[in-house]
Symmetry: C2
Subunit: 116 residues, 2 copies
DNA sequence: AAATATGTGTACTATATACTACACATGACA
DNA sequence: TGTCATGTGTAGTATATAGTACACATATTT
């Protein structure tokens, strides 16, 4: 499923219950032209900027990191974290490339709980 | 220290011992015009593409992830790893934002050794 | 039936990215 | 001293990114 398809699907679902989720009205709320959002949803143009994707995520109640990923992007705040300690993070992330989900989850939990 | 300054410094250092490290010759080996490399080193233009930065890292014996970071970029292979599991990695990386170096290092080591 | 809202086609535009090509003054060296 | 290499100034190019503006046919609402 492409970025555009995903957006369209979820926007239309919300529209069932609330007609404020038309292309035009969502476009207005996230600050783009309706024709542009329409083209994005149909894959006629590339996904929009990170800022617009974030606004869209907020509007549709979706996870911004997931939407950014579908758009082929990585959140700029994550990039900044990595850029500040490139060797440490590059090494760790490559190690985790083939780790199972539960292992990554557990590490995140351990770090959060301060078990280190 | 900027990307350009760093490159110039390290290239000049190598040039002391080996005159094959002139702007012209390095430029030729990494596949750019000498004038362009000159401008990069003086910060006259933005850092080059990821591919050229990698070639430069190879040529100067530097860590590509570090050079990419100085250029304000994050390696595309890391971005791809994150994009495949955005929630897991986004969460983990944000957790590790303020973790001390030794903690991140230890996690990477633990993962490598399979202690999980 | 009239007014209004909706989705989309077409045609642009502005800025950034990632360079090349050529010329030229200066310095090294044979 | 002539040749060759060196670093750099100027000008230009191709492609990507991130959109806008307007018009128009088709619903939907009043």
């Amino acid at each position: 499923m492409t970025f555009g398809e995903y957006i369209r699907e979820h926007r239309e679902a919300l529209k069932e219950q609330d007609r404020r989720f038309s292309v035009r009205q969502v476009a207005q709320r996230i600050g783009v032209e309706p024709a542009y959002l329409s083209k994005i949803e149909r894959g006629d143009v590339a996904p929009p900027s990170e800022a617009k994707i974030r606004a869209l995520a907020e509007e549709l109640g979706e996870d911004p990191d997931v939407l950014l990923a579908m758009a082929g992007k990585v959140s700029s705040d994550l990039q900044e974290i990595i850029r500040k300690r490139p060797q440490l993070f590059a090494d760790l992330i490559r190690q985790l490339k083939s780790a199972p989900d539960h292992a990554i989850l557990r590490i995140a939990r351990d770090v959060r709980d301060g078990d280190w």
